[in-house]
């Protein structure tokens, strides 16, 4: 009974609190409500850059640039090449001084460090930009001739113009070599990664250690090995297949490592659920483990391809130099793209150097495309599905339903026909 008496005032209070209720006479002002109706709560922590912060940054930057221009252009005390460094140092000095006007030592150090860290990030990003832009800028003369992609270097003399000659032979070489390398690497790499993760045992530990050690193999040493073991003693001439073997030796550990890391992300309970439903180990791997990490594995393959295409040192020792189209990877030299770029820039003729830069720019764009592809595929987490994937999966399980019903009907029919069998199963 006491509970009801206690309850009653509470209900009364709640009706009072709702603003829609018309107050009959003077209502009690609750302190909580009073505060809410008043001025908005003061923001105590403000994240991000404040106004004075932005102003001191901009001011210091302008001042630094001004000082740099004064010393280099106006007064000529320092060579023009130093403009950037002088401006940057003066900017740091000015900025520290400006922050010091308003804040104490720890905050000043903090601001200075933030600027330095940002500079490091900007320097790395800027270098990538410089590398890409410089390669394309130097290569643009040769890159914008269609013949560059449709012809090889047959009959192209040192004095031929940029509208003659191209890298079709190198493109074919790269495609064939990377295709052969991937044909060996993907099945072997995936099988080994599955072996390391799903089978295990002492042998797996040995394999893992050796693979780990092999990631340290310098690329030129891999090339030297293939050169000595295959080119010098078996084929007696450089060829595309030897180059793809060298790429394989380098890609295999990368591939196994990336697949191994991805497979480790598969939650153990997914495997256990499969086993508990009666699937064998092979079925669990094929239907659960591998589909779960499909996007991760694809990303690993694409990134390994991007690295394999860019390998220069090993193919230099094994594929040989030629300017002529050679579609047979097993006989005669077959130059891939990075090697063609290297070969052209070693020539003293400016046209050849321009072709070299154009080849490098083309190679860079191939790698860039592969990288973007890998990013767009690899954006998913392990086990998460996109909408279309889950739709496909639902469709598949709908297709499975009739089969299960059919099997069930058959089982029932068998039991009806043979009751003793039924008895046996129930035991």
């Amino acid at each position: 009974m006491t509970a009801t008496t206690d309850d009653a005032p509470v209900t009364l209070q709640t009706t009072r609190l709702t603003p829609a209720a018309e107050p009959l006479g003077p209502a009690t002002e609750l302190p909580l409500l009073a505060k809410q109706s008043g001025a908005p709560e003061e923001v105590r922590v403000r994240l991000g850059a404040g106004r004075h912060h932005v102003f001191s940054l901009a001011g210091a930057a302008a001042g630094g640039l001004g000082m740099g221009l004064l010393l280099t252009v106006a007064l000529g005390l320092i060579p023009l090449g130093w403009l950037f460094i002088v401006s940057y140092l003066w900017f740091l000095l000015l900025y520290t001084a400006l922050v010091h006007l308003r804040q104490r030592a720890p905050a000043v150090r903090n601001s200075l460090m933030t600027v330095l860290l940002s500079s490091a990030g900007a320097a790395v990003a800027g270098t990538l930009g410089l590398v890409v832009m410089f390669t394309f800028a130097r290569g643009q003369d040769a890159l914008f001739h269609l013949t560059f992609f449709t012809t090889d270097m047959t009959g192209v003399g040192p004095l031929s113009g940029l509208d003659q000659g191209g890298v079709l032979h190198a493109l074919v070489g790269t495609l064939e070599q990377i295709a052969i390398a991937l044909t060996i690497t993907i099945p072997l790499g995936l099988t080994t990664a599955v072996f390391l993760n799903e089978v295990g045992g002492r042998q797996a530990r040995v394999v893992r250690t050796v693979v780990e050690a092999m990631t340290a193999l310098p690329s030129v040493v891999a090339g030297l090995f293939i050169y000595a073991a295959v080119v010098m003693s078996i084929t007696h001439q450089t060829n595309g297949f030897a180059a793809s073997l060298a790429i394989t030796v380098l890609m295999l550990p990368i591939m196994i490592r990336s697949a191994d890391v991805v497979l480790r992300l598969v939650p153990g309970n997914l495997r256990e659920a499969g086993l508990a439903l009666g699937a064998g180990q092979w079925r669990v791997v094929w239907h659960i483990v591998l589909p779960t990490v499909r996007s991760g594995l694809t990303t690993g393959v694409i990134l390994a391809t991007a690295h394999g295409i860019g390998e220069t040192a090993p193919v230099m020792l094994t594929s040989g130099f030629t300017g002529v189209m050679n579609v047979n990877p097993f006989a005669g030299p077959q130059t891939p793209l990075p090697l063609a770029a290297l070969d052209y820039v070693r020539s003293p003729v400016p046209e050849m150097v321009a072709r070299g830069f154009a080849t490098a720019a083309f190679l860079l764009s191939v790698v860039l495309v592969l990288f973007i592809l890998a990013r767009s595929i690899g954006g998913q987490d392990a086990g998460k599905q996109t909408q279309s994937q889950s739709r496909r999966m639902a469709a598949r399980s709908r297709r499975d339903l009739p089969r299960i019903q059919r099997n069930h009907a058959r089982l029932l029919a068998r039991r009806a026909a043979n009751p003793s069998d039924n008895l046996q199963e129930n035991q």
Binding site: G121, A123, T192, S219, F225, A228, A229, L252, V285, L363
Partner: protein
């Protein structure tokens, strides 16, 4: 009035787990056999590479003796007068320059990515670093030889003019007072090669450091802020101590890459086969670049000598990498590796 399940008494008496039997189907045996064969092939390939290098290399070292091999500077396998002293020194020198430039840059970038940048900037910078790792080495080499070198020789000259009293920054054969702009003695040096290699190892160092900084626990971060630390203070007391393994491991993995880098160095240096202590002076060499330069003119015995050099390089990079992964593995707590 409790229900006694049949068998409970017996279980209490013995208290041992029920023996579990894993029944493998025929296709599971097949699956295991196939993967085992795959692992075996990989093992065989890798062992073949290692044994082939070791066999040929040790044979060549045996011809001149290990001591001579390690101390001779000249490289003339035809007259059986070769050693790796000069090229090994060059390799270490270039790698040291690369590390000195790359390490602060990578540390700063990694801290910028994890602690300063947010949102799209953080994401795109991470992608950019990964992209930088995928840029082919020949592109970096071209950039270094045709763009960086002409621009950086003035800096080399300035450095050696003002700091030439430091022994390794000295450059022989130039007159600092000469009014002529003579930059040729400063080209093709270990310093310039090291700068290009630095840009090539920044991505791997940055990504490993970023990964380890991300693992610094949020509780400790917030604790530092709550005690009134600035961002710098928080980084110094929480992020860096927690990420120490990542910093050391990432730096060493970068070192391993720097030691094995070939094409960029090959395009920039003018090879010498003598120990050159002057970093800024024209003329340098590295084991990898020497292999790329010498392989084509090598007969059977000269090939053995190159194998010996390659083996030395491989052993060094392997030691560096194994140390790096040991340091990184120890800094990671065991709980995180569990899915």
């Amino acid at each position: 009035m409790s229900t006694v399940l049949p068998g409970t008494r017996a279980a209490e008496a013995q208290d041992v787990p029920r023996p579990l039997q894993q029944l493998l189907e025929q296709q599971d045996y097949l699956f295991r056999a196939v993967t085992r064969v795959g692992g075996g092939i990989v093992l065989a390939v890798m062992a073949l590479v290692g044994l082939f290098l070791a066999g040929n290399g040790i044979g060549a070292i045996g011809e001149v003796g290990l001591g001579t091999f390690l101390t001779t500077q000249n490289w003339a396998p035809e007259t059986n007068d070769f050693g790796i002293a000069a090229v090994l020194w060059g390799t270490v020198q270039i790698a040291a320059v690369a590390l000195a430039v790359a390490m602060p840059l990578a540390l700063g970038t990694a801290l910028f990515i994890t602690e300063v940048a947010t949102g799209w900037l953080q994401k795109s910078l991470t992608s950019l670093i990964d992209l930088l790792a995928a840029v082919p080495s020949v592109v970096f080499g071209l950039w270094g030889a045709y763009m960086l070198q002409p621009n950086v020789v003035d800096f080399s000259k300035w450095l050696s003019t003002w700091f030439g009293w430091i022994p390794f920054l000295q450059v022989d054969g130039v007159d600092p007072g000469s009014p002529l702009r003579d930059t040729v003695p400063y080209t093709a040096s270990a310093f310039i090669a090291g700068l290009v290699v630095a840009m090539m190892i920044v991505p791997i160092q940055t990504s490993i450091m970023t990964e380890s900084f991300r693992r610094a626990p949020t509780g400790e971060r917030e604790g530092a802020y709550a005690l009134g630390a600035t961002r710098l203070g928080m980084i110094g007391t929480v992020v860096l101590p927690f990420g120490r393994g990542g910093i050391i491991g990432g730096t060493m993995l970068g070192l391993g890459r720097a030691l094995g880098e070939t094409i960029a160095i090959y395009l920039i240096i003018s090879p010498v086969y003598a120990i050159n202590f002057h970093v800024l002076e024209k003329g340098a060499n590295s084991i990898a670049a020497m292999i790329a330069l010498k392989y084509s003119e090598s007969n059977e015995s000269a090939m053995g000598a190159l194998m010996a050099a390659g083996l030395t390089l491989f052993v060094i990079t392997m030691l560096v990498n194994i140390t790096a992964s040991a340091i990184m593995a120890r800094s990671r707590s065991g709980a995180e590796s569990e899915g």
